[in-house]
Symmetry: none
Subunit: 249 residues, 2 copies
């Protein structure tokens, strides 16, 4: 494996998972830990990641203090949120999952919008409450402290009783072969229910997460009606998704 190739691999992994461990990488790529360490140091010098004892972290992971580094991913999510918000019209019933991208959407809603939002995400609901003209339906059940959404069969049943006009999913991984994938069983179940219960499924993700996959299957690519990323509509990365029949925004 070439050095550049290895570094590209590391960088992708850092951006995707927000952290990498030196030991783990050295086993994965089959090089010595020293080599990994030197790679990480080099890339840290180039500003591509943040070196820490034991591995490295992505910029977005790092702190609010380093506003500069955080803005990148944040800005992307804001631009995604703006596009997504433009799809919502007065009177609509909108189902949303949780996650940081959805939070940006919640913040980006135009103040005049009169719609009904349905969600099991506690932070998202808090955000929706700030909007004067929005009605909120909260999906109840056991609260997952990890993802801060409600999970479980009750929640799924409640979602299934709804027929929403549109749903927004913040997704963790998507590729053409595996479709939308994730890594938390309970969250996957909720997302499946959301997809079933809405007429139009919109997936939101930053482009870094495209063409990656995780262990659990959420839905096939053909169940996704629209994909919103921070990229321009005719970015080459998106072309193959458009060909697969997904609308791009």
């Amino acid at each position: 494996m070439l050095k550049k190739e290895r570094q590209a691999y590391i960088l992708r992994k850092v951006n995707l998972h927000n952290k990498v461990l030196s030991v783990q990488l050295s086993q994965e790529i089959n090089v010595s830990e020293d080599t990994i360490r030197r790679d990480l140091l080099e890339m840290a010098d180039e500003g591509k990641l943040i070196k820490v004892h034991g591995g490295a972290l992505s910029h977005s992971f790092s702190q609010v203090n380093f506003i500069k580094s955080d803005v990148y991913s944040q800005e992307n999510k804001v631009s995604i949120a703006k596009k997504a918000a433009s799809l919502i019209q007065d009177g609509m019933f909108v189902l949303t999952s949780g996650g940081t991208t959805i939070m940006e959407l919640a913040k980006a809603l135009p103040p005049g919008l009169k719609a009904t939002f349905i969600s099991g995400s506690i932070p998202a609901v808090l955000e929706y409450m700030n909007h004067p003209n929005i009605d909120i339906i909260l999906i109840g059940d056991k609260v997952s402290k990890n993802s801060k959404i409600t999970i479980g069969s009750q929640a799924i049943n409640q979602i299934k009783r709804i027929k929403a006009d549109i749903s927004f999913l913040g997704i963790n991984a998507i590729d053409l072969e595996n479709g939308v994938t994730d890594n938390d069983w309970d969250v996957v179940m909720i997302k499946k229910a959301i997809i079933e219960s809405s007429q139009k499924v919109i997936c939101l993700t930053i482009s870094e997460k495209m063409n990656t996959f995780q262990p659990l299957h959420v839905c096939d690519i053909n169940q996704v009606d629209m994909l919103i990323t921070e990229l321009d509509k005719d970015d080459p990365l998106l072309r193959q998704y458009a060909k697969a029949g997904i609308e791009i925004l």
Copy 2:
């Protein structure tokens, strides 16, 4: 978990919740208290938070929150919350309403407590999420922006399906003649359901609200099992309530 990762986690939590406890963090992240303490000291040196005995506070807390309005009533509510928290034992199912007094209760819960809390109050649930050993069931339905709890028939049905060991109601008015009264129809419905679904009903209120009444009837005085105020157990104000068969704490 990497050190920096851990510190980032702590910092997020401090900024979100304005305070962290060392014990709680060490249980949550599964490291020794010494490690947490060293982290907090380090971050305090960097000016990211304020170290205090037992944990740490956010900067915004020390500045903004201290100047905040009524420390008097706050103190009373804290003392009420402490009494209330002492009633909760491991393994219990606890139903709670919303309101500021309940929020204090949520903050006052001992970190080691292992119980299941059921509530439709969004701020309360947020608070419960900070406790590592507490399971949370969120009651879903329409969200009332006013009271920040879920209201409606769905919520009531969900509550009715529960048989809780104990319930805590933050109440707005109580007197001997009218019992517990309130002024929001939807909230009253929820409180009625809570009372029906729990074996023991505990009412929390600051003494100012005693011997006052509001238009809507929540429950009669004989349905209240215990009354907790900031007053001493044998305060004359409480005597007549004790005579009416209510336990006083």
